[in-house]
Point group: C2
Chain length 343, copies 2
């Protein structure tokens, strides 16, 4: 843009760029409890906190309409924001949806997108309250903002984990990444031979994980019923390891995760093997599962130990003990996080 | 996208599309006071209302970086959202900024954009509390959401105007549109002859109106000091006439606007003439001035009649009397609204 110094964004990465930009800003309102740096922003309403989160999805970067049906895209775009509200232990209330549309999109196509948005609004009980609609010179652009609330003494940040806390993950992980590999392969095969019929039946679970992930509001309600207040929580968008690192960094701790505890669904495991990808790597670095990763005090262990959908996968340890991965053969190795690179 | 019926978005237009999509949604939360259809969404917090608004700006559609400096773009992108909060008689508190960046953008370019965002945050006293940063395959995408609050008995909608209310506009109108013509002309001349130096000095006011419009928070504070509660209010993004029509439609009224009352700044008037454009048309349909258009009861007239920056330009009349424009020669013609067409 000029003759002056030019630093590529890739040199800093997404998080580095955000950190650099954010350091010049400091809140002027006492009500601003949290700005950048957690799953949502937090604004003090008195007894309650207002939670705000936003996500931008660009065609060709975040989704490929050659294999993502528009209703699924609409559903997922809402669900990923609801998932951020869940990660603060909050209840979602409202969303706004902004979209840029190239002239490739008909009214019927937009209606198909909104079918999915409506399905998510119905499922998560959120009101669509506004947005912005404009033309785009290049494909579909979606930007969704979600607002929710949480009682002020129930909010859960990334920074509250304590040494000895148990690390839990909901559902199963790695499936969404494996599903993406299937969809990419099918696309390549279709391009090579358009007569070919897609063979997705065998992969229905993992493909569903990629196309239509659910926000785990059910878990938020269950934790409340079980009287469990997580000490730290985050949702898995970038990958379990990367999200665990956020909790470590913000809580000033290390972590130990056990290979034999990672919940990997059978189809995800087998499909990963079919692609010669390490299933553990899918589970730790795959991302887009939108499960919840959280820590609880040891006193709460009995309340969840028999829960079918909450898995204890490790514990928080002193920072000096590092971030470790304990293999089935009891080898302790350094935990690696790759996460997603957007740049 | 399929062989089925295909309706072009242009057939419905932006508002028609939004209406069609919105009709399938109905709020489930009692706290949702207003969804789609005003300057912001409104959520009931008890004594206060939460106001939420969002705007999406796409390179090549909403701005042209060949003549829009990045700091100005950042400032304007925030200001247009603050302007929506102002139009509800509210105070802005927080914004989120999401952006998609193609690899054309360096870290330094993003910092220049954020310089403007910061200038707007400082001026309007809002906290930047989050956002999303991602790569884009096609230029710069900006999506900003602003949140504000208003005491529940002070909120101003578009639907509260009464017959006989006085129609007021702040500042002056038409300048931003004229400024855009100058910038487009300079660009064309530069492309024809890159050696040419831009001649913008003579047009500093109108170019400034286009590049760096201000949200009229000053007026919101003054109205409060004057103990004036507008009966209806909207900000001028699409054009004065189009915005007046929103007030008419939602309040179930007609309007009369007087040609000789339209506040058109001298440079805007002369520059419009230079382009052989009717200055009235710039004032009524130009858009992007981000001034406030509002109605007040006749009892409040004395409080503003000598205000240098609030102009009374007409009054609300019965719906049956229509939407009229009274020329200098006292001819009464039908008021036309062109607004912006995004599709």
């Amino acid at each position: 843009m000029s003759d002056e110094k030019r630093t590529e964004i890739g040199e800093l990465g997404e998080f580095g760029l955000i950190e650099k930009l954010a350091e010049k800003f400091s809140p002027v309102h006492n009500e601003t409890v949290k700005g950048i740096g957690d799953d949502t922003a937090v604004y003090d309403l008195g007894d309650q906190y207002l939670l705000t989160t936003t996500d931008m999805l660009l065609e060709g970067v975040h989704f490929d309409l050659s294999y993502v049906p528009l209703p699924h895209l609409g559903y997922k775009a809402v669900a990923v924001n609801i998932s951020d509200i869940a990660a603060m232990n909050g209840l979602p209330k409202q969303i706004t949806v902004s979209m840029g549309l190239s002239n490739r999109f008909s009214v019927e196509a937009v209606e198909a997108l909104y079918e999915g948005i409506k399905a998510a609004c119905d499922e998560y009980k959120v009101d669509l309250v506004g947005g912005d609609t404009t033309s785009s010179s290049s494909g579909l652009v979606l930007s969704i903002t979600a607002q929710g609330v949480v009682e002020r003494d129930k909010v859960v940040y990334r920074n509250g984990a304590m040494e000895g806390d148990i690390l839990c993950v909901t559902g199963d992980v790695g499936g969404a990444f494996v599903g993406l590999q299937i969809l990419e392969r099918e696309k390549a095969e279709f391009l090579a031979n358009p007569e070919m019929q897609p063979k997705l039946d065998k992969y229905d679970y993992v493909v569903g994980r990629q196309l239509r992930p659910r926000a785990r509001m059910d878990i938020i309600h269950e934790l409340k019923d079980l009287a469990i207040q997580p000490t730290a929580m985050i949702d898995i968008s970038d990958g379990l390891a990367s999200e665990a690192f956020h909790i470590c960094k913000q809580s000033g701790l290390g972590v130990a995760i056990y290979e034999d505890k990672l919940p990997i669904e059978k189809q995800a495991f087998e499909t990963a093997a079919e692609f010669s990808i390490d299933p553990n790597s899918c589970a730790l670095n795959g991302g887009e599962d939108y499960e919840l990763l959280f820590t609880i005090g040891q006193d709460d262990f009995d309340k969840i130990k028999n829960h079918a959908d909450i898995h204890t996968i490790g514990y928080m340890q002193a920072k000096s003990k590092g971030r470790t991965f304990v293999t089935r053969s009891q080898n302790v190795v350094e935990l690696q996080a790759q996460g997603w690179k957007h740049f």
